[in-house]
Amino acid sequence: MSEIEQGGEVEPRLGELPAQQEMPFAIVQGAPLMALPQDLYIPPDALEVFLDSFEGPLDLLLYLIRRQNLDILEIPIADITDQYIEYVELMKELRLELAAEYLVMAAMLAEIKSRMLLPRPAEAEEEEDPRAELVRRLQEYERFKRAAVELDELPRLERDVFAVQAEVPPGHVRRLPPEVDLREVLLALRGVLARADLFTSHRVEREALSVRERMSLVLERVQAGGFVPFAHLFDLREGRAGVVVTFLALLELIKAASIELVQAEPFAPIHVRLRGGEA
């Protein structure tokens, strides 16, 4: 029971708001106000802050019940309903943004109130108390309201405790290379394509990548140095298509001035070598 009381106590996290037992209705300039003001002037903003601090109709109802130290199981529904409606009217007057849920609750309270007034048929002892559903909801809400307060009180990082972070001397952190998805590479290329106009020509669009690949292979072969017989660059097992690819690659490389063809004399074997390279 005291547990639940505390739930109410911590309630609005604004220091000057109602606490315990005889909860003041509000605190105005340091002085607690114990009852709804009739003719007293209250600074509207103080009242607004107070009324605005309710998390909804259930929260407001709980406040009304706890304020009077009532047992949640024995709510004097008529009184509470009247008080609730007074508050809701007040909120309306102050033009607070009033969630529709407040009005739904007002209607529900009025209905319970009228059902309570009806005489209970003698035999129907097992009929549920009209307040039962409301009581269940209030308790259910209150336990989580309380749980939220307790959660907030748990020692947490960045407020109550802090992570430590000692540095490691340089040279000792070896990082594994990340995994890369081909899609990421292609998306990066799309980004380049959007920026560069180099690729706009249709020739490049249609260019077979196999030629590019072969250019690299040929370059690598001739890089070893010296002359490579022209014929050795062709692998006849690849068939006609493969031969064409190699031939196109050679033409591209010659055009790019990467390699040159050398022939000692007419009809002698042709050799390929790296341009400008004794490398």
Partner: protein, 212 residues
């Protein structure tokens, strides 16, 4: 191992450098096969470090993600001044939403609203997701297929919890029907003794399992 510096120094160095919790397995993984201590030795070392820290500005705690060295609560008021910004204060609405997700997971937004009696703002759900305290673990198979929210390991680590079972016990619900008939309490479907005895546990999905 390396002269005066051995298992204890390596584990201490790792815990202090990691910037987050480490599991015993992660600690074991720091050693090559031929030098690897056994698990019990690691646990003993952890206990020994915990004792060493009793009078220091730091402490060793166990959270969901493993063992973590953290600056003690007792000195936090001073240490916190290192940073200009004050720690964030979360609204009641956010904390109540988080509490409902923690205790009632997996739960939909509509179910949270039913209990709180007011709507849950999108910005709250967004904040909780951005902090990686909650995540969507599925969808309820009803019209609209609302998302089901659950808390993450990061949530547990952040609040210094080893598991959801470490959460404070929920207050009990009293049934007006059973007032004055306390012997009957056992029949209530909400076990009154511990509130929610075992909140459902959500098996971490691959991306959630290895965040830290």
């Amino acid at each position: 191992m390396t002269g005066a510096f051995g298992l204890k120094q390596i584990i201490e160095g790792a815990l202090l450098a990691a910037g987050g919790p480490l599991t015993p397995d992660q600690l074991l993984g720091l050693f090559g096969e031929e030098e690897r201590p056994d698990r019990d030795q690691v646990l003993e070392t952890l206990a020994s470090l915990e004792a060493d820290y009793a009078e220091r500005g730091i402490e060793l705690v166990q959270v969901a993600g493993g063992y973590r060295v953290q600056v003690r609560r007792e000195v936090a008021p001073w240490v916190g001044r290192l940073w200009e910004e004050k720690p964030v204060r979360y609204s009641r609405a956010l904390l109540e939403t988080l509490a409902l997700i923690a205790y009632r997971q997996p739960i939909t937004r509509g179910e949270i609203e039913d209990i709180r009696g007011v709507s849950v703002s999108t910005s709250i759900v967004k904040t909780l997701a951005e902090r990686e305290w909650i995540r969507i673990v599925g969808h309820r198979d009803v019209p609209g297929r609302p998302a089901l929210y659950a808390t993450t390991r990061k949530f547990l680590d952040y609040f210094g919890l080893r598991s959801l079972n470490d959460l404070p016990t929920l207050a009990e619900i009293r049934d007006p029907e059973l007032l004055g008939d306390e012997l009957d309490l056992g029949e209530m479907d909400e076990s009154p003794a511990q509130g929610d005895p075992s909140p459902p546990v959500v098996v971490p999905t691959p991306e959630a399992g290895r965040d830290g």
